[in-house]
């Protein structure tokens, strides 16, 4: 009825980012680009899109940066309290359920599309979570505006039982595909490898877009500016300082 009146329903927002995840043998590798955009302007050339949910669980976020940051912080807090209460390591499905419930409650108004990955007692897990609260469980996943470019790499090169290094290379390739072929993604590649008992955050694992125009010698002006005329006016001559009788300033 409202559409008839001209109200456009919120469409699926594909946002400026490439985030991916892949399940390898005994580990999960997450990857993200580092460009944050405000419309067609690059707002941050090296932002961090991989968020901490728990020591063994991490989450890549695409969508509105404030939303992904807030929702991951909130659920990370809840998971910490849960860990203290139960005395156990957090499970990926717990993080998944807390995130999807939160997003569903907000009916898609919290614009956060997430790739959640981690290793817990039940093994390695990888999930995607959409802004409306639906989730998928996958061996490899991509989200964001660069997801098609990254998925093309996965679909042609993914195999079951990848080793850690093969996984890192595949993820790097997929993110690079997003960086170079999608305008909404760019700059560097962040990687995170989660194994049983160990999490490695490789910030700026690859920097394929360095600034090339800075001279290593520093910038020098070719010609010195000529001094034509010098005039010094001491300010004391312009202002009369008068001490008022009594307290200069009452506290």
């Amino acid at each position: 009825m409202l559409t008839k009146k001209g109200l456009k329903p919120p469409g699926y927002l594909k946002t400026g980012t490439t985030i991916v995840g892949v399940v390898c043998k005994d580990c999960v590798v997450l990857g993200a680009d580092t460009r944050a955009t405000a419309g067609s302007i690059v707002a941050d050339k090296n932002c961090e899109k991989i968020h901490n949910m728990a020591p063994n669980i991490l989450c890549c976020g695409a969508g509105t940066a404030a939303d992904t940051e807030a929702v991951t912080d909130n659920i990370s807090s809840q998971l910490k309290l849960h860990r203290y209460h139960t005395g156990r390591e957090s499970r990926v499905v717990t993080a998944l359920t807390l995130l999807k419930s939160h997003l569903f409650r907000y009916q898609g108004h919290v614009s956060a599309a997430l790739v959640l990955g981690g290793v817990d007692v039940t093994g390695p897990h990888l999930h995607t979570i959409y802004p409306h609260g639906s989730t998928d469980t996958l061996p490899f996943a991509t989200m964001g505006s660069g997801s098609l470019a990254a998925m093309a790499i996965f679909e042609s090169e993914y195999r079951e039982g990848l080793t850690r290094d093969e996984g890192v290379n595949l993820v790097t390739k997929a993110i690079c595909s997003g960086i170079f072929n999608d305008l909404g993604s760019g700059s560097n590649v962040d990687i995170c490898v989660i194994e049983k008992g160990k999490t490695e955050y490789l910030r700026n694992h690859l920097t394929p877009n360095p600034r090339t125009y800075i001279s290593s010698k520093g910038y020098t002006f070719s010609k010195k500016t000529e001094v034509l005329h010098t005039k010094i006016t001491p300010l004391k001559e312009l202002v009369d300082v008068v001490q008022v009788g009594g307290d200069a300033m009452e506290e």
Partner: protein, 237 residues
């Protein structure tokens, strides 16, 4: 707090100006199992006796010393269930502080907030004061700290303190042995000796009937395992 029928506080002043309910709460604490804490120059140790009602109780399921944040731990004397409520609230408050300020909560702030909760229950409708005193041990930018929080909501910073049964003997012992430049290892030994000296253990003092929690310069609170306690016990022998 409480029904409309119980919107009045159950803790009321006596003619002599005392809050009798709080005095009774302190009595409840005084009849609880002994716990103590010692602040050393490079850390804090808290310990308690873990006397179970029967040999049939699975002692591995009981943990009296709890962690509140990675760098703050707590032990209680008095009613266990009351302490659980406080521990849960404190953890939540610490986490809320962290979310708001993106900073680990300082020990004094957490103690202050926990004490405020305990005070609330002495002034709200239909509730009774908590029957526990807490010893909060933490290590933050101000260094190692030890605080005691009472059912009234008052808190004090201590160099060494004890609560529960035999508290006066324990404090005398601690007063004699405490030195300002004490190191954590000495503090742990002193804590064990205090517990050993005061208490009448049915069998022997062992890793299974006392609990010890420590925090050092690495700012990570940990509860010692029974095996680690046994090692310290052997050193003390």
């Amino acid at each position: 707090m409480g029904d409309s029928q119980y919107s009045f506080s159950l803790t009321t002043f006596s003619p002599s100006g005392k809050l009798v309910q709080i005095e009774h709460a302190l009595t409840a604490v005084g009849s609880g199992q002994t716990s103590l804490g010692i602040k050393a120059s490079n850390g804090v140790v808290i310990a308690t006796e873990k006397k179970l009602p029967s040999i049939l109780v699975d002692e591995t399921s009981v943990q009296k010393i709890q962690i509140l944040t990675p760098n703050i731990g707590v032990v209680y004397s008095g009613m266990g269930p009351d302490s659980r409520v406080l521990v849960r609230k404190s953890r939540k408050q610490a986490e809320q502080y962290n979310l708001l300020y993106k900073e680990a909560i300082p020990v004094t702030q957490l103690v202050r907030e926990t004490a405020a909760v305990m005070q609330e229950f002495t002034q709200s409708g239909g509730v009774r004061p908590f029957g526990v005193s807490l010893l909060v041990a933490g290590y933050d930018d101000k260094g190692p700290q030890l605080y005691q929080v009472d059912p009234s909501g008052s808190y004090f910073s201590w160099k060494a303190s004890a609560m529960g049964k035999n508290v006066s003997n324990a404090k005398m012992f601690l007063e004699k042995r405490y030195t300002d430049d004490m190191e954590l290892e000495d503090a742990i030994h002193t804590a064990i000796l205090t517990l050993k000296g005061l208490l009448v253990f049915e069998g022997q003092i062992s890793g299974k009937n006392i609990e010890i929690g420590v925090i050092e310069a690495d700012r990570t609170f940990r509860v010692l395992t029974a095996a680690q306690i046994e090692d310290y016990l052997q050193e003390v022998e």
